[in-house]
Point group: C2
DNA sequence: TTGTAAGTGAAAATAACTTTCATATAGATA
DNA sequence: TATCTATATGAAAGTTATTTTCACTTACAA
């Protein structure tokens, strides 16, 4: 983490470490406010503003990802540099990362049909995880 | 529109008609505030609150869709009852609807691998439309 | 035509996020 | 290791987005 930050001109501060740690330790996606609450338990002085700033940088660097499906807009989950997507439990918020979306064929078709130059895609699945199925 | 609303216990008011009309006439995705501004030109008395409420109902009924990709969270575009997805121009915001996402194979694989019961998916492409390519 | 469930708009409240700025600190460099 | 400076921090205030409450109004079923 330190290396990646420094390479981009950012510094590795205890606050940033704490924010990433908090997101990484959570199974489910968290809002900035929820992250703030958790980080404060270990790091009482931190400001919500620092959390916002840090989330932005960590997203930019690919350490974390924002999720959208199921009203989760503006929540964050730990990420990985490789291209991947999210499968989100609509009940408990648990997120599973997966790779192999295989959308290049569809992208080509769309590009041909519309003349768009395709840059990226957003793909998320919403479902009910095994433990929530048992409860329901 | 009226029939669908009534069937669900909603009423067809001039405000609702105006909001849908505004979204439907736009090529690109609009925020609630932008919709409010446009609707007000034809319908000065309308409140922003009514716009919010209407957007919620129209989304629920499938007349409009919310888009997410490229920081467009909380913007709306006209929709259609059939299953479809969006291709969004990252420059001008223009949205094209398309069908045939063909994700059932991937859904099955994920379901098997994770035990999730998959409910839905969110798929959006971001690109640069033909007219914006010329300008750039 | 009338009754009523649903809808509206105003105002205020809350939530989400950003700006500004003085102070503090990571970490490069001497 | 000490110093220096670009970057980061936190407090406070400001802005934007969204929701709640409530008294009044209206669509539309009977």
């Amino acid at each position: 983490m330190g290396g990646t930050l420094r390479r981009r001109g950012y510094k590795l501060t205890p606050q940033r470490r704490a924010v990433l740690r908090t997101v990484a330790l959570s199974q489910d996606h968290l809002t900035p406010a929820a992250i703030y609450d958790r980080v404060r338990q270990q790091h009482p002085g931190i400001g919500l503003l620092t959390v916002y700033r840090t989330l932005q940088i960590l997203t930019e660097l690919g350490f974390i990802c924002e999720v959208h499906a199921g009203g989760s807009c503006g929540s964050y989950i730990v990420g990985s540099p490789e291209h991947h997507h999210h499968l989100i439990c609509s009940n408990c918020g648990k997120v599973i990362n997966f790779t192999g979306c295989n959308l290049s064929e569809l992208e080509q078709r769309l590009s041909q049909q519309t003349g768009f130059e395709i840059e990226s895609h957003l793909l998320e699945f919403l479902g009910c995880c095994r433990s929530c199925q048992k409860i329901a």
